[in-house]
Symmetry: C2
């Protein structure tokens, strides 16, 4: 599984961080899923290898502008790029109204159908093409949701040692056995399941929307490999502001991740007051240090256009990339 | 007068060009005017010295997404940046509906008032703080308008030679005279108008929206120093596409500029098919060569974040800048 961040700033864009949006996909797959679509998301996508023609579904966490104002433009651009395949848009029921209204008032006709699905009515284990979806209601100023992407199946793996011990050399026959096909080999029928390893656990990544109660994700997080969660503030700033904005601070999210034993935690959606220059005060370093002080797992602070993937041991790895836009 | 381009691509953004938006201002002034606001305009503004707190008015040429989808986000960001001063938004009547709907459905409350003015009802010589405004209806798939910015007054200039000949040395007294104040000097009253040069012509720049009939601007252009107009296509591509999109091609705009004797012409809003790499086919060079073949004036093809200003002789100058975003 792979995650690509399009925007990591809260509320308003900065010179180095756009507003919310990220891609979820199977590693090496061309098809992908977009979670949130703040203004400028389509511009960020241009700096990746992702195509609007291969976009499978869009999932919106909540109806705040920094999470959805990029949607009409992205949908119109997909049409101008020649998209004809239907697109699924999942989100609060109002997202359909917003999209329909915006496209109509600007005389935009799409070349493809949109299937809107109201997240409020979505049953758990909804099936996307590549993932099962879990939905968890969160706590924010407006109705807001987390989307957990669960691998639909773990590709079966061959027991290479056993194959070699039996003298079966690499070749097309290995491919057949991996696909689960019993196969004739030197006059003998090889049963596929004899040469397959036990399937690995299907993995799960949670993409949370804005939320001031991380513990709402406790059940869902028990079986998750990674959580991507907002940490808009550090705890001192959160205390000063009071709770009206209903955002999380770094310590509360990290404490939650430690308590449920999450292997990987990515923080994002930072208030623009935190500078990327570590010499500034406050800097993004404040958020990192605070989270590190209570969480010993694999911690990242996301930046725009960074790519992360889960490796074989379900450790989240940040890909080194030369493709930085800003 | 000064122009700053935020986006110069038609319909969809590219890696190097955003969709429509530009700033108009008096040179060296902090207050400014935004014409069109495609998605991502607020992100482009971050790469200039312009502040959303000093924005005087927004003018929308027409209700196509690539000219207005950035408006709700920009207005919300101005509020989050602490704007309290009222803002004027001029455009087709529907722009009020679009903004109101988008802000409401995302629970956005602004910290300042917006005065919406429907361009359909706007009288010519409407006065902005720094400019008089002329409006010209254009020809496009939806109602579309050009906005001409006319300097409100040309600052009076001192007759420096005459001052020097009279032995009046530079000092505060020069400032008084320039402001038109009669002033006591060595026991003698100096009449301000004796030391002022005849006022220069007030200058005019036309910012046209999408338009397939440049000749609609003939009257307005007679007294204009510069025209900024779309040249979405080269003439061969325009011929192939037929007229349904109702855009101009380079030759038609340049021929018009030549016919009315325009001193300065800036082309913009290029179809993404024209590459910025001159080795590609077709490249933006095709548009430039076509325009040059029929127009001998001061010709520019705009690029994102370029800054242009009118010098003393009303020649448009492109400022050399190190501030390029992409």
């Amino acid at each position: 599984m792979e995650i690509i961040f399009f925007g990591t700033s809260s509320g308003i864009p900065t010179k180095s961080r756009n507003v919310s949006g990220l891609a979820v996909k199977r590693k090496n797959a061309k098809s992908w899923y977009l979670v949130d679509c703040g203004e400028g998301t389509q511009q960020q996508i241009l700096h990746t290898r992702l195509s609007l023609l291969k976009l499978q579904a869009i999932l919106i966490t909540h109806m705040h502008g920094d999470h959805c104002y990029g949607l009409p433009g992205l949908l119109a651009s997909a049409a101008m790029a020649g998209r004809s395949r239907a697109l699924t848009v999942i989100g609060p029921a109002a997202i359909k109204d917003f999209v329909t209204y915006s496209l109509n008032i600007t005389n935009s006709r799409l070349s493809y159908e949109i299937t809107f699905i109201a997240v409020e009515n979505l049953k758990n284990d909804f099936e996307l093409a590549d993932f099962k979806l879990e939905v968890v209601p969160l706590s924010h100023r407006v109705p807001c949701f987390a989307y957990a992407f669960l691998e639909k199946y773990s590709p079966s793996q061959l027991d290479v040692d056993k194959l070699k011990a039996a003298g079966i050399k690499p070749g097309p026959i290995w491919g057949h056995l991996q696909k689960g096909l019993d196969t004739l080999y030197e006059g003998q029928i090889l049963k596929a399941h004899d040469y397959q390893l036990a399937p690995k656990k299907r993995r799960k990544i949670i993409i949370a929307g804005d939320n001031d109660k991380p513990e709402l994700l406790a059940d869902c997080a028990k079986s998750a490999e990674a959580l991507i969660h907002e940490a808009t503030y550090s705890s001192d700033v959160a205390a000063k502001l009071g709770g009206a904005y209903q955002h999380s601070h770094a310590k509360s999210v990290a404490q939650f991740a430690a308590r449920v034993g999450l292997q990987n935690l990515v923080l994002t959606h930072f208030s623009p007051r935190y500078s990327d220059k570590t010499s500034a005060t406050p800097s993004i370093k404040t958020i990192e240090l605070e989270a590190k002080s209570v969480y010993q797992g694999n911690l990242f602070l996301a930046r725009d256009l960074e790519v992360y993937y889960l490796d074989g041991d379900s450790a989240l790895i940040k890909q080194v990339s030369s493709k930085r836009r800003r």
